[in-house]
Symmetry: C2
Subunit: 594 residues, 2 copies
Amino acid sequence: MTNKDARTPASVQDAQSEEAGKSIGWHKAYVEGSRPDLRVPVRQVHLTNGQAVTLYDTSGPYTDPSVDTDVRRGLPPLRENWIISRGDTEEYTGRPVRPEDDGIKHTSPRGGLRNLDAVFPGRPRQPRRSRGGEAVTQLAYARRGEITPEMEYVAIRENVEPEVVRDEIAAGRAVLPANVNHPEIEPMIIGKRFLVKVNANIGNSAVTSSIEEEVEKMTWATRWGADTVMDLSTGRNIHTTREWVLRNSPVPIGTVPLYQALEKVDGRAEDLTWEVYKDTVIEQAEQGVDYMTVHAGVRLAYVPLTANRKTGIVSRGGSIMAAWCLAHHRESFLYENFEELCEILAAYDVTYSLGDGLRPGSIADANDEAQFAELRTLGELNRIAKRFNVQTMIEGPGHVPMHKIKENIDLQQEICDEAPFYTLGPLTTDVAPAYDHITSGIGAAMIAWWGTAMLCYVTPKEHLGLPNRDDVKTGVITYKIAAHAADIAKGHPGAQEWDDALSDARFEFRWEDQFNLALDPDTAREFHDETLPAEPAKTAHFCSMCGPKFCSMKISQDIRREHGGTRTEIEEGMAQKSKEFAASGNRVYLPIAD
Amino acid sequence: MTNKDARTPASVQDAQSEEAGKSIGWHKAYVEGSRPDLRVPVRQVHLTNGQAVTLYDTSGPYTDPSVDTDVRRGLPPLRENWIISRGDTEEYTGRPVRPEDDGIKHTSPRGGLRNLDAVFPGRPRQPRRSRGGEAVTQLAYARRGEITPEMEYVAIRENVEPEVVRDEIAAGRAVLPANVNHPEIEPMIIGKRFLVKVNANIGNSAVTSSIEEEVEKMTWATRWGADTVMDLSTGRNIHTTREWVLRNSPVPIGTVPLYQALEKVDGRAEDLTWEVYKDTVIEQAEQGVDYMTVHAGVRLAYVPLTANRKTGIVSRGGSIMAAWCLAHHRESFLYENFEELCEILAAYDVTYSLGDGLRPGSIADANDEAQFAELRTLGELNRIAKRFNVQTMIEGPGHVPMHKIKENIDLQQEICDEAPFYTLGPLTTDVAPAYDHITSGIGAAMIAWWGTAMLCYVTPKEHLGLPNRDDVKTGVITYKIAAHAADIAKGHPGAQEWDDALSDARFEFRWEDQFNLALDPDTAREFHDETLPAEPAKTAHFCSMCGPKFCSMKISQDIRREHGGTRTEIEEGMAQKSKEFAASGNRVYLPIAD
């Protein structure tokens, strides 16, 4: 796995071998909770001034050199004992995995199951579900006043009291997606009271990419900070790809069951039935999918509202359900069977992500009647889900110009009783294909500041093709920027400390600390070295932008000296480094005289 | 020059040779004004459906195949007759160019002037300035009620009445930077009533880069949409580099005279004098610099306010003036001689860009007393400049978290009588070096929506090194996105038409039109072709993201058909293309069956 050969093990090595004053990078650490099996991972950045900065970490065991991970075996089942000890679930003989689950025809020479065993030897334990049929969801526990280990875990991660976590979940303002069949995850919470989260989409398609690629994209995305990953695979090997992703993912996994259901009916929307859909939801719940996008808000009556839109329906799930409704001239089978669906999800603690199938696909269609009609139905479905103790979040747009973003989230919060909003962007203009991570990063930062709980990333390939590894990284980094900018604007406790630590390093010319504190240390270091490669430049008290004569930071140091600034040791340290730099003979500055 | 060998000539060729229905790209066109020598350039994009979209164009004669440009000769002096015919300026024997203007010591074997002639043979006509000493500025003309050719030119560019342009300039809410010694520029206007503008910084430094590189960066930046360019050169050949940039630039050029003045005193801030500075301003005004950043707001009394900041003073100009004030314990010579400076600028129509020398360099320092104290002084200086009929804009931060951005611009607009705000970003977080085009693009879009008139771009190299050609393009594209998103949010007439045209093309699967309408057609086409390279895919009515079975847009077409949508010809056209696609045997979709 990419993450195994990452910078980290080496850095930790450094931490032990190198003396202070040189880069000692960062290492994975754990904060212990009230029980020995409750250890919350953090990223500890070691600064050259002897201090350390602790950052939120989503990278999982892959960045812990003491853990030996093997993608063919999967991650250790961190939550297994917590789930079993609650005593409200039982193992059972799950639904048999059929060839068609992998998109292989009955007539296929290779059986799907054999095929599956072949590619994933370390296969599942028996699936579990609610014993008596009652809800085994974090929402049910929270409402009962119970603080689960999962809640304590996220409380430590978010640096708040466990009671705050329980209360936000109980009120439906936050969700903690954690399927009882996905014990491998490190619990995380999604709600406006907490750090803004980022989702990364992966998934092979009818056109390209392999299972290994998708698993690598998943670990790659979490390494850069994805808080959840959605597997949107279509085409072949959907079941097996998902199995690999789930068993190896340290973060909650989301899916859109409708995509696989459509594969089971050979892509003919009109052939979809509640039975095929239900079978698919159970199949995925048994595998351990933590949240599912369900487009139950696309009702027959709303479809005509899209007829005169500039870009019609741009949600895949939405367009499939719309096509089904039209073909049969009937109400959506998802809407009509929603209560039964709630019972299924409650038995595994699968969280709803109520899909916005009618989200706008262009600036022109933003905040129109089709979108808001569906939103009102999502508000209604949210209340039903809560009656069944199913955790629920609401998906949002899409393409929305800046001046319409606030109206969009304010309405969602009002109609959906403050259920967590989970938005795609929104894109603030349509004119920049190949740069939609940026057109949408702008809207994402704003809507997150105003209360969106999780942002679905957009990559540079949006509208053009499938993201590769680089696109995934660019999308995740861009969205971590949007999320963090919102955390600062929301005044999230501790959010700005990260910025302050990096700015201190910048002012004091601690280049290695700047790199190690950066969202993307590798690229920051690489860019710096393009113009000032030599090692002494890492201790230079100026950079290539101005050269030494112009260095404003250096002049600021003088000013501070004049006016009783408090950092004289630092200045002495800098003077020393400056001498070293001169001594090194690395003369960055070309004198003006010939 | 890069722009000569650009896509354009080829595309125009296509336009003549190829039949409709295939890509005919775009070509440069002109809108004629009230006189034959008033021709406003536009970018005409030809759509495959026979329609055309007209876009604002900053690329200059370089993208006009009928103009033969030569960087050693410079661009034609478009405005020369307009300036002369006003009869209020006269040629005179300018200040002799000295070797030290190029940072070459008196002792130098190579004389600066000879050196200059060698590298730029097609050297200036005599400089001109105000005949009787009265202001020859667009502000003076506007206040007198005159609509100059320059005003009519920008009125056509902005699609407003000339009277609107005159009125905004007269009120000081907009500036039209146009030095009488820079007749080569295509006039443009900066004000919140107009399209949001983008500035790109170029400039060699003590550490790296050459004259040719800087001229190429300038033309490259304007090709991608930069509305003005600032030459921030330091180190050697400052005068010559500037001469090349000015003579070849179709957009207004800005500088920071303080940088060159400092070179003239060998980089010792304490040796700066009003005389050296004044000499430098005249030198640059005679060359044709259109606007100058002047850090006259950094007063002695404000310097201590920065002593306990996290990142002190981060503006080069600001730190140089602060150092001077401290060294002499005297008030700033720029502040004390501001009225004389106004007289000089008024004689050439050089526009003030009053620098924010105390802008915050970190989230922690945003909107602090040091910044706002200087802002109040800038408001005072703005009023003095207006008394001398000098056009004036105000520079702004910097690093500002999202929740403090609105306070920042509202205060600037109030204190500075709505003078155009010209901001650097602002960056909304400090933690992402190597991605500061994005951290700042977020803040730039927001502050522009709220009234900023021009955005100074930030490249991925910010804080790390000097931008190369790719960085310049990334910075400009990112800022064009921010500016256009703001134009839409402000409801600028016609802004959304661009988005609508591209979204129509997207919905109708006119791939070539999507590419040609994109902010960066080359990259959009390249990304699409990574997954679907074949030519028939350009007419496919689906893409690699979903494959044909899932195509939501296609399903939307069916819905529209059901519900009396108005685009049946389009659908027939698509059905036809679909047949061609199938016939081509280019089977993108892999069937599920083995």
